[in-house]
Subunit: 203 residues, 2 copies
DNA sequence: ATAGCGTCCGACCGATCGGTCGCTATATTG
DNA sequence: CAATATAGCGACCGATCGGTCGGACGCTAT
């Protein structure tokens, strides 16, 4: 029996442990990559045993999926929710982009946007992780596209606006920003991103 | 003595072997990542022994650096050279972007642009590999920025053009394209990228 | 002819990977 | 209180990782 290491075995404590694991996984994965995440180091980091950790998920893949789903919750909280109260259409679109830039600038995920880096990590491979990534990106693109279309119907954006084109370019701005921050640190990049968004979303 | 497996020991053959290793490394790394590249599988893939392979580079890191430098040669050949003969300024800039999009579309690196994916892979880490990546990106950005400035002085681009801003956005277009291709396959993405470039480089 | 050099191999190393298994200790249920 | 369910642990597994080492082989210069 170790002193100060009293293990808990209630269902409530188990849920709490699971939360701790997932949260730490998201942070670690954003730095080391979803694949670079290792059970051993994660367990050591959390002060629990490998088998105790793996008991919550069964396999590493299940842990990766849980981390990705949690990351989506965080992304939603940081990027969508701040602008959810804004008027639908262009104002909300501008709010989302502002929050998006801020989210990258504040490095909510210490190693950059987990979704972007994970996409490149799972380039050639298949499997459930990649399938989840695809679904998540599709969902986010659909949200943006819907908002762009709304801005078009309200006349806030020109009637000949190609929604897919605009979303494609907004994505590009955010990826360029993410890349610049990760490679050089912030610098001028956030200002460049804001200027690009302002031009893309000009009336 | 195995039949048909006659080993070569001349210096010329050694150079050839080295080339084969590097070329295969670039392809593999673009799919599996620079870190995901493993000596054992690479050696097996090439039909040589691990130790024979490692003898050419000493360490895995040296192999990674060699692969990155080779990737830069390929990138230069595929993206810069096709436009090198064009008139400096806007025509050359347009040529580079066209070649850049084509390079991503043809998937010259089967797992997408090795530089972009490597950047995200080495997010938080330091070390020589990351330093080389930074140098390579700086050099490429400098080339683009120089070309943009030239187009401004010739009057092909507006005099108030912010070169860093334009390069930042061109980067974004290419990253968005790279991302779309890797995640969904080509689809409309190349056309979207061309339209975005055309708008960014309008006179 | 032969000595030396460089290429490449096979065997092996310690570390670490994801994962399994049997067990203990506790919380919950009847 | 007794029985059951389960969180978590420690030991262990086979596979694979990057890397080392001694030697076999063949080219080349003397």
């Amino acid at each position: 029996m170790l002193v100060g290491m009293s293990p808990r075995h209630s269902a409530a404590e188990a849920r709490h442990t699971r939360e701790r694991i997932i949260e730490r996984s998201v942070d670690l994965a954003s730095v080391e990559g979803l694949e670079g995440l290792t059970i051993g180091r994660l367990a050591l980091d959390l002060g629990i045993s490998k088998s105790g950790l793996l008991g919550h998920f069964g396999t590493k893949e299940a842990l990766q999926l849980a981390a990705l789903e949690r990351a989506a919750v965080v992304f939603n909280r940081e990027v969508w929710r701040p602008a959810a109260d804004a008027t639908p259409g262009l104002p909300r679109l501008r709010g989302v982009c502002a929050a998006w830039i801020s989210y990258l600038e504040r490095e909510v995920f210490p190693g950059g946007c987990l979704f972007v880096s994970s996409t490149f990590e799972y380039d050639g491979r298949g499997g459930p992780v990649r399938a989840l990534l695809q679904r998540q990106f599709r969902a986010w693109e659909l949200r943006l596209t819907t908002e762009v279309r709304r801005a078009v119907t309200t006349g806030e954006l020109p009637p000949d606006t190609d929604a897919a084109q605009l979303v494609f370019e907004l994505y590009g701005v955010m990826m360029s920003l993410n890349h610049a921050i990760q490679l050089y640190g912030a610098g001028r990049a956030p200002a460049l991103a804001r200027a690009a968004v302002a031009r893309l979303l000009a009336t």
